[in-house]
Amino acid sequence: MSGLRPEESKQVKGMTLRRDPLREECFQVVSSDAEMHEWPGMTEISKRERLHRHMNNETGAIEIAAQCLVDFPDGPWELRMQLARQCWDESRHVASLYRRLREIGGRKGEFPISNFEWSVTCSLDSLAARLALQNRTFEAGELDLLGQLPAKWREAGDEKTAEVLESILSDEITHVRFANQWLKRMVQEDRRVLLKIAMAVRFLSAVTAAVAPKEGELSPTGQVFTQVKDRIPQVNIEDRRHAEFSDSEIDEFLRQSGFQSIMPAGAQG
């Protein structure tokens, strides 16, 4: 999948992935989401853990966009500009989440963190593959999640965090959209790019399967893990449209989310 040098790579459950980016000593870095300390509901500790986790994910997003600038110096300048802009956006996200985390009594390093998205995405050796995973898969998944989360925080009486998340959502739409636009263009110019993207998606599936918790396994906080298919959030149709996913692609996400039975006949595969 990649031409990672030994000093750049790590082994996780038999998979070769990119070694973690550097973190301060206060952080405990784990290799998968299954090792994270996820708390149910919207208790005080759960709120802090959610913000802490999100803050580190956004830190990873700066790192991934920045590493693309380093690894692909010959990429189109307009695309590099968008990656540079993404670095700024993600930096503002980290700063705003960290500010909010401190406001509710949290601190850096309070919970374990995982750099899963970095380790998978930065194992890939083409810019198209990285855009396909980081922007078009992970960040698009965030659109779905952020479509629901602000309401959840408001219900818990936290308007400030809801506003932070809504601002982040609007920026993420831009990141997903430019990836969709560039991938379309890259595929039009060279059909072989599709193969790179397909291999990247397969690689992600393999890594996800390798690190997934076993059935019945308990999380570090004593929760029973729900299956991946049960964790897929509701598809954020409106924002996926803003991000220039086609209707047929959105239909496919709906199908994967278990909405097949209520979709129009023509949309069912």
């Binding site: 980016p21 550097l22 973190r23 301060e24 000593e25 803050m55 830190t59 700066i62 790192e63 920045a66 590493q67 600038l69 380093v70 110096p73 300048w77 590099r80 500009m81 540079a84 802009r85 670095c87 700024w88 993600e90 930096s91 503002r92 980290v94 700063a95 960290y98 850096k108 970095w118």
Partner: protein, 185 residues
């Protein structure tokens, strides 16, 4: 006598090269700098440097060079930049970039403004004025960060002066080309 159009394009193309190089330097440092707040400030300024490079790259086109034309500086200066990029500690990265590299580059911009005709070359001067304003804001942000995180304090007080001396060793960094070569660019 002020600068010819070709010399202006070469200067602007050289500045663009430096901005892209510095953008890539900060990008390279983001994953391998441990402090989260430092990653954040580098991430912010990657975008500043990209916009500055872009503005310079549009200006090269107006000066009869290609769009987004970059001209590699003299070899010694490129070596200096490469050595700076390999700086390891966060303290040296922060102090080197904000207290040495940006002010030294600002001096080079000032020298350019002093040598060009500010009326004939006003579009370049406007771009540079904006860049100098950005530099000032970027340095202010780094000062705030240094105040917030005392661990970013530099122990080796001599190091910035040494870096500045190395930077200043090359009075002229533009690798001017023969007229024919410039026409083919």
């Amino acid at each position: 006598m002020s600068l010819s159009v070709q010399k202006r394009a070469e200067n602007v193309g050289t500045f663009r090269f430096i901005h892209v190089f510095l953008m890539e330097t900060l990008a390279r440092w983001v994953p391998n700098t441990p402090e989260m707040e430092v990653k954040v400030i580098f991430g912010r300024h990657i975008w500043d440097l990209a916009q500055q490079a872009d503005a310079l790259g549009h200006r090269t086109y107006e000066l009869r060079a290609p769009l987004q034309f970059s001209l590699s500086p003299k070899d010694e200066y490129v070596k200096f930049l490469e050595d700076f990029r390999s700086t390891v500690t966060t303290q040296q990265r922060i102090h080197g970039f904000y207290d040495v590299i940006l002010p030294r580059l600002a001096s080079r911009y000032q020298a350019y403004l002093d040598s060009t005709d500010r009326l004939l070359d006003e579009p370049t001067a406007r771009i540079i004025d904006r860049i100098l304003g950005d530099f000032s804001r970027m340095r202010d942000e780094s000062k705030e960060l240094k105040n917030e995180l005392p661990k970013l304090r530099l122990d080796d007080k001599e190091w910035p002066a040494q870096l500045a001396n190395r930077e200043a060793a090359e009075a002229s960094i533009v690798a001017h080309r023969p007229v024919a070569a410039a026409a083919q660019a």
